[in-house]
């Protein structure tokens, strides 16, 4: 690694790494499987990875394979690695076999793969923090023609009240082996929640976004992405009642009491810098390792002052006895300047602060600062020795606080609950959680049941 790059990373990441003192439970991959734990002296060690064919496919495989030279491996670890490679959408027919290495116990892994040049028509479900579930009605995906490992995907998403087009294009290694060019375009309608005493409204926010990104992968698991783009917004001038059917058309004009009176068109030139550091055990991310995200945002609106903000999000999991794990997440964020209310921070909701509806803790105008801590005990119940147990029980305690416009204190909130993580061959992991608020919060339910895709954090 170049010294200048190292200095830069240190300056950004040291505050994050301090948060992780004690989190590293040994080199990742030391205890990837039951076999390795059982016979520490008789491990098979990955000596070399050979990829056929070479060229771009080799680079893609080496970038995405969740194994490193020196890792203890077994059959389950290799099958998991193959599954992960098959999930790289530009590859197909991924095959793996091994050969003896130069010394007893050393293994050479051979990987064969092909470019997937087929058109793929997809449908499915998705989940976003605010609008919750949506239906990916149809999308089309295909690898780029120039065989650099890139692909494009265009899709139409719809929800109960909002919908929109999404287009993503990814050009890997445009400027070298570890730099990707990304395009993302969206034309969507978001649904911003607005609370007024006992009523719940939403404000439709029409958004058009075109962004260009440069993503840099480094060998030490840090992914840096710089986004530059144009965002245009058109907030609706009426609030619609959340509970009323579409036919009833129960709308109220925005007077500035609940949310600011919208202008005809709003938009900004935006710059985001994302840093992602992942030191999770690739085979058991739920149990070992840590992961950090940092995002710095600068926006230059057409007719108001510049606004900016930062967000830090750290997660770590600590292995406990009998395959249990304790996981904790800390998130902190702030915004400065004239940020539009619909781009402010949100607190509450699944995968955020459980036990509360999405955004309810930060109110109708969002927050300018917040912190939150999620803690969770993960207890495998079925297929307990597997890398991903078939059934995992969770007990959790979440808490957080926020500061709204003019830095008015939003109030401390906490909730506790339990959940079940169910590994299904079809939908991977689904998460059912029940959480009850421990603090008095306006508009909050006594108890909330949440269904999400994947772990909460």
């Amino acid at each position: 690694m170049k010294p200048a790059t190292l200095r830069f990373r240190k300056s950004i990441l040291i505050p994050l790494l301090l948060f992780a003192v004690g989190a590293n439970a040994g080199p990742i991959g030391d205890v990837p499987t039951e076999h390795a734990a059982r016979s520490a002296q008789r491990q098979l060690i990955l000596q070399e990875i050979q990829v056929t064919p070479g060229g771009t496919i080799e680079k893609i495989v080496r970038r995405h394979i969740c194994l490193e030279l020196g890792d203890a491996i077994d059959s389950a670890a290799l099958l998991y690695a193959r599954e992960q490679l098959e999930a790289v959408v530009v590859l197909k027919n991924v095959e793996m076999y091994t050969a003896p290495g130069e010394r007893p116990g050393a293994v050479v892994l051979h990987v064969d793969a092909e470019f997937d040049r087929d058109f793929h028509f997809e449908s499915g479900l998705g989940q976003e923090p605010l609008e919750n579930w949506y239906l990916n009605l149809i999308s089309v995906r295909r690898a780029n023609g120039h065989n650099r490992g890139g692909y494009w995907r265009i899709g139409y998403h719809t929800r109960s009240r909002t919908d929109g087009f999404h287009l993503n294009v990814i050009h890997p290694r445009l400027f070298g082996d570890y730099i990707d060019l990304l395009h993302e375009a969206e034309a969507v309608i978001h649904m911003w929640p607005v609370w007024d005493e006992d009523r719940n409204y939403y404000q439709a926010i029409h958004q058009i976004k075109v962004e260009l990104g440069l993503r840099r992968w480094s060998r030490d698991d840090v992914i840096t992405t710089l986004w530059l783009g144009i965002n245009g917004f058109k907030p609706a001038k009426q609030l619609e009642d959340f509970e009323i059917d579409d036919d009833d058309n129960d709308e109220i004009d925005i007077t500035g009491r609940l949310v600011p009176i919208p202008r005809d068109g709003e938009g900004h030139l935006g710059l985001h810098l994302d840093l992602h550091l992942d030191r999770s055990n690739p085979l058991r991310p739920w149990r070992e390792g840590y992961c950090y995200d940092a995002r710095f945002t600068f926006a230059n609106p057409a007719d108001t002052d510049l606004w900016w903000g930062a967000e830090l999000d750290g997660k770590m999991a600590l292995p406990l006895r009998e395959n249990w794990a304790f996981a904790v997440r800390g998130r902190s964020a702030f915004l400065r300047g004239t940020t539009p209310h619909y781009l402010r921070l949100l607190l509450g909701g699944p995968q955020n602060l459980r036990g509360f509806k999405p955004g309810i803790l930060t109110g109708s105008r969002g927050a300018l600062g917040l912190w939150q801590i999620n803690s969770e005990l993960r207890i495998p119940l079925r297929d307990r020795a597997a890398n991903t147990p078939r059934l995992t029980g969770t007990l959790f305690l979440d808490m957080g606080d926020n500061w709204r416009a003019d830095w008015r204190h939003g109030g401390f909130s906490a909730a506790a609950g339990c959940g079940l993580l169910i590994r299904s061959p079809w939908v991977k992991v689904i998460n059912i959680e029940v959480a009850c608020p421990l603090t008095d919060t306006e508009h909050a339910d006594e108890c909330l049941v949440m269904l999400t895709l994947g772990r909460s954090f």
Binding site: R42, L44, I73, D74, S75, A76, L78, L79, E86, A87, V89, E95, M96, Y97, T98, A99, P100, G101, P104, G105, V107, V108, H110, D118, F119, H120, F121, E122, S123, G124, L125, G126, Q127, E128, P129, N136, S139, D274, D293, R295, Q351, P425, W426, V427, K428, T452, L453, G454
Partner: protein, 212 residues
């Protein structure tokens, strides 16, 4: 420090492996199926050949398992499945004990890969069903297919391969590859019509040889 004979054993093993591979250029297949009556049960002896392709043999030599799965079906004269049986065998080399371990319900060890290959190619006394469940005058036949793979057995045709999850800062998404899924279902339907395994001649239960 390694035992001085370890290198020699390794060399001999490599020679044997080369010999086995040279003799097994064809793909794995079942050659003989012999059904018989054993104590009122329909039993089967099975001989297969060419189970060790070069990738599986290499994987076994490196200390990781190779897996052999026999899929055996008892069919009536119309081709309908009466009962089916799945046998999964795992073969690996214990590099530290220098033994080949064949794992089914229990583990058997062998000194050479050739002996282990012979053992998983020849299966005796596979119980298919009780004879009382079958009609004595009806005609039946047995069909068997064999698949050998490096590493663990896995249903590579499983439908969940067509489900992908995409995660980002903003959304978590689960997508179903419609083309891949329907293509796979179509291929499965076609393959059901065109069995490629080895099939025994038709036999009647009352004509079966009785063995003690």
């Amino acid at each position: 420090m390694r035992h001085p004979t370890a290198h020699l054993k390794r060399f001999v093993r490599a020679l044997l492996l080369t010999a086995i591979l040279a003799a097994s250029q064809a793909s794995a297949n079942v050659d003989v199926l012999y059904p018989y009556n054993h104590g009122g049960r329909l039993c089967l002896n099975l001989w297969a050949s060419n189970l060790l392709d070069d990738r599986t043999a290499s994987t076994i030599e490196s200390g990781l398992p190779g897996t052999c799965v026999y899929h055996i079906r008892l069919l009536d004269s119309d081709g309908a499945t009466v009962t089916e049986h799945l046998i999964e065998l795992s073969l690996r080399l214990d590099l530290w004990e220098n033994l080949y371990l064949l794992q089914e319900e229990e583990q058997i060890s062998f000194n050479t890969l050739a002996a282990a290959d012979s053992a998983w190619s020849h299966r005796e006394g596979i119980v298919l069903c009780a004879l009382g469940e079958l009609a004595g005058d009806a005609e039946y036949r047995v069909e068997a297919q064999v698949v050998v793979t490096p590493l663990a057995a896995e249903d590579r045709a499983r439908l969940s391969r067509y489900v992908t999850s995409n995660s980002s800062r903003k959304r978590e998404e689960l997508s179903l590859d419609l083309g891949g899924l329907f293509g796979q279902l179509l291929r499965r339907a076609n393959s059901d019509d065109n069995h490629t395994g080895f099939t025994s001649p038709l036999f009647r239960i009352r004509n079966l040889e009785e063995r003690r």
